[in-house]
């Protein structure tokens, strides 16, 4: 990262987010919950509205000018995604409803095809439920087992034993790029290289990574890379499965229906090549176009600049919160991004969450859909603040004084 990077003009950026001027419980809203869902800039909201008002019809249907136009916008969004993550071809970009659906798709097609009784699926100890449950369902169906890469008390994966954990029965390794609870940035490039050395394909859950750091799927050499639109300043209901073309071509279709076929007869139905064969039915067209506009927006801000700004906020918040009495930060990895989880002795995370809400500070309190991580750290829940490019040091100060007020109240 360049040190003479021109910083973001956050005051200007904030004007693109109408929600940031809302008042909550009589106080200005402090949105520190971008890891749960990012806010959309007006540029993306307006683009979706324009599509919905003036341009809407179905895609890949018929010969009308409107249908061709809609198809062009929709496919242009796919190209934006391709470029954004450095994929080689738009054939490798499959639209899904989100990260969860993308992982289920891989589990139910690639997984069913490759995993047999007695095989192993290797996951990391810091996975979101979305990258656990689909594999457990597959393992149960096939009689396979799940193995886990452990982590340290600081929230870093222990990779010393990775080569032993990958056996000749391992059929897939699933790992989160950035932990949604601990903020850890995992060394996925190294993990992928070591898995590939043993012939094991890797799926990377990039839901919390793409909003915060530049991702190049070819440089990582990921077999599958998945993420959601709504954590990337885009809308809900749209997500992305990147898959190496050779994998996608070998995989059977998943959902059947319109849009994914080449021809249908009672005797024999044939399917489109990837990505079409994985996209049955009418897709969320407006959401795809909105995600394209969101990608334009963050690209214009610059992911390097976004990362620099968020790192500074994270470091500042970590330093200030760590000094509060009874407060413990979960996740102290050397390489972290944007997420700050903490617990306070004697105060349950849900009480903290409600009290912060009363101060206008929006955070997530709970198990973050990562119960095995809660179990690992022996806590029922944590409070999590997560930072985006529109947050400021002043907002961190308000968070800190709101946390302090809660601590005083519970004394």
């Amino acid at each position: 990262m360049s040190v003479d990077l021109k910083p973001l003009d956050v005051a200007v950026v904030r004007q693109d987010f109408p929600l940031l001027s809302r008042i909550l419980h009589g106080k200005p809203v402090i949105y520190l919950d971008s890891a749960v869902s990012g806010q959309m800039p007006v540029q993306a909201i307006d683009r979706m509205t324009k599509y919905q008002r003036d341009e809407h019809t179905n895609v890949h249907r018929g010969v009308s000018t409107l249908s061709q136009e809609a198809t062009d916008f929709y496919e242009a969004a796919r190209e934006k995604v391709r470029k954004f993550i450095g994929a080689g071809s738009i054939k490798e970009i499959v639209w899904t409803r989100g990260t969860t659906e993308a992982i289920n798709l891989v589990a139910q097609t690639f997984g069913r095809m490759t995993v047999k009784a007695g095989d192993e699926i290797l996951l990391s100890a810091m996975e979101h439920h979305a990258n656990i449950v689909p594999w457990q369902m597959l393992a149960q169906e096939k009689g396979a087992t799940i193995k886990v890469i452990p982590m340290t008390d600081d929230g870093e994966l222990i990779l010393d034993s990775l080569d032993e954990l990958i056996t000749d029965r391992t059929k897939l390794l699933g790992v989160v790029h950035v932990s949604n609870v601990l903020g850890t940035v995992n060394p996925v490039k190294e993990i992928i290289a070591r898995a590939h050395a043993k012939g094991v394909p890797v799926l990377v859950d990039g839901a919390q990574a793409v909003p915060h750091l530049p991702v190049d799927v070819r440089d990582l050499d990921a077999d599958f890379y998945v993420f959601s639109g709504h954590k990337l300043s885009g809308p809900t209901g749209i997500g992305v499965l990147y898959g190496k073309l050779a994998h996608l071509e070998a995989m059977p279709p998943w959902h059947g229906g319109g849009s994914m076929i080449r021809s249908v007869s009672w005797e024999k139905t044939t399917y489109l090549p990837a990505p079409g064969k994985f996209e049955a039915g009418t897709p969320p067209i407006a959401a795809a176009i909105g995600l394209g506009a969101a990608i334009d927006y963050v690209t214009a801000l610059g992911l390097d600049r976004i990362a620099a700004h968020e790192h500074e906020l994270l470091a500042y918040a970590t330093e200030r919160l760590a000094g509060l009495p009874g407060l413990r930060i979960l996740g102290n990895a050397k390489d972290k991004a944007s997420v700050l989880s903490f617990v306070v002795e004697g105060i349950h995370a849900h009480d903290m969450g409600s009290l912060l809400d009363g101060e206008g500070v929006v955070v997530r309190a709970g198990h973050h859909c990562a119960q095995p991580v809660m179990t690992r750290f022996c806590v029922p829940a944590t409070t999590r603040a997560s930072f985006a490019y529109f947050n400021t040091r002043e907002e961190v100060d308000i968070l800190v004084s709101a946390v302090l007020k809660a601590i005083e109240l519970f004394k």
């Binding site: 995370a349 009363g358 709970g366």
Partner: protein, 149 residues
Amino acid sequence: MTDPRELYQQVILEHNKKPRNFGKLAPCTHHAEGFNPLCGDQLDLTLVIEDGIVQDIKFQGSGCAIDTASASLMTGAVKGRPVAEAEAMAEQFRGMVRGELDPATEAPLLGKLTLFSGVKDLPSRVKCAVLPWATLHAALKGEEEASTE
């Protein structure tokens, strides 16, 4: 109520810090476990009921302050009462925190438990306050588990 702080009154904070009737009765005549799947709160409730009277009651588990204080105050309130009255209190409590009953006029059995009435303005926390009562209801009905889902 606009400020969640109003709910965190001294009585609630104090019962959270020093919960009454905390522990497990062995032997017991009635038992149920309560879960709040969304937030992971769990509660283990044991009772001794003789001659239709709640002779003793204890709880243990982990939860937020609202849940813990609610369980602590509930155990104190139903101890020594007839089962039918405990059931009626559970009904009134649920009605109150859901905003269906006026605590001043329509919840005569609740007494100081009306200090939970503010929960109705924090919809995400209603389940926390109700969990002990849902678990009590399950135990009295002979069910092993209660869930707020």
